[in-house]
Assembly symmetry: C2
Amino acid sequence: MPASAPIEFYFDFSSPYGYFAATRIEALAAEIGRMVDWRPYLLGIVFKTTGQSPLLGQPLRGDYHRRDMARSARRLGLAFSIPPFFPVSGLAAGRAFYWLRARQPEAASRLVLALFAALFAEGRNIDTPAIVAEIAAPIFARPVAEILAGMESPEARGALRQATEGAIAKGVFGSPYFIVDGEPFWGHDRLEQMRDWAKNGGW
Amino acid sequence: MPASAPIEFYFDFSSPYGYFAATRIEALAAEIGRMVDWRPYLLGIVFKTTGQSPLLGQPLRGDYHRRDMARSARRLGLAFSIPPFFPVSGLAAGRAFYWLRARQPEAASRLVLALFAALFAEGRNIDTPAIVAEIAAPIFARPVAEILAGMESPEARGALRQATEGAIAKGVFGSPYFIVDGEPFWGHDRLEQMRDWAKNGGW
């Protein structure tokens, strides 16, 4: 594998720790001269395979992580709250992402950041296709109706399904999850280790 | 709560991440002028309450964490392997800890480090009371037979049970788990955050 392989960045649009990682990963990748391959997928499908359940619904761990998420966001200086309709599905967001990326790859990461901020900083429900399209329209300079139609296309559906199957095939089971030079790292709190691993060729 | 409150350090003797934290926490606490209150407890009892299962037995997550543990140990320069008889119960180790700490508190943390190293660096089964007593004897300069008798005493049994109940009462659900100035931190990877929180009075 070439030393310049991109960082594979797997995340679910409903994942607070995925949001935190998304705000930091481009700067971190730039430090080590790597590109980022953004790969939103549906973590809920993986949960069906592994028998896991959404973090915030778990006894004790759920309460702890609500606190840890708020604390992590404050440390990063990010506006953050868990919206009342949480968790949401990343279906609409993921379909929009892959359909738009195929057309304007350079703007794809901006869409991710805008969708995460809409959900966690503004409390907008990105489970709603119309809201996703409305957020995407100015970023890609395309009409809302065109994006909505694209999201419903077999291409968009297939791309998100394929991304989720690809994540499962690589053993991805969480969000955020990174693979660099074949080495997996799970969690926002592994970002620096992942960077150091890529920089030094392991340890 | 006074600013000089100790760091409550909860861990299970079968926890690799607990081992990693144990090797680092005293130096880290010294940086911020805090004491460490070492609190081994039985995580398995908590799992019965929360419905969690041992990490390494979980699909996907288990494999990932075996890799992450080995990688973390290499980074810390610690000899480490998961012994074939893993996981072990921390019953014998925990009883020995509390019985001996009541008599020679100054040596208690050395016992923890010796037991963790025996398990993870030397592959010795610390589930066996005789092995625990043999490891403890030179540290506390007491005969093996006396320590074995102490471990079986109602005092030792009660102290470990009470420690586990105390952990549950505080909402502790993992290993390592830290509470400082009332703020909980879960995981070896939260050590630095915990230190910074204690140093700065939160953020």
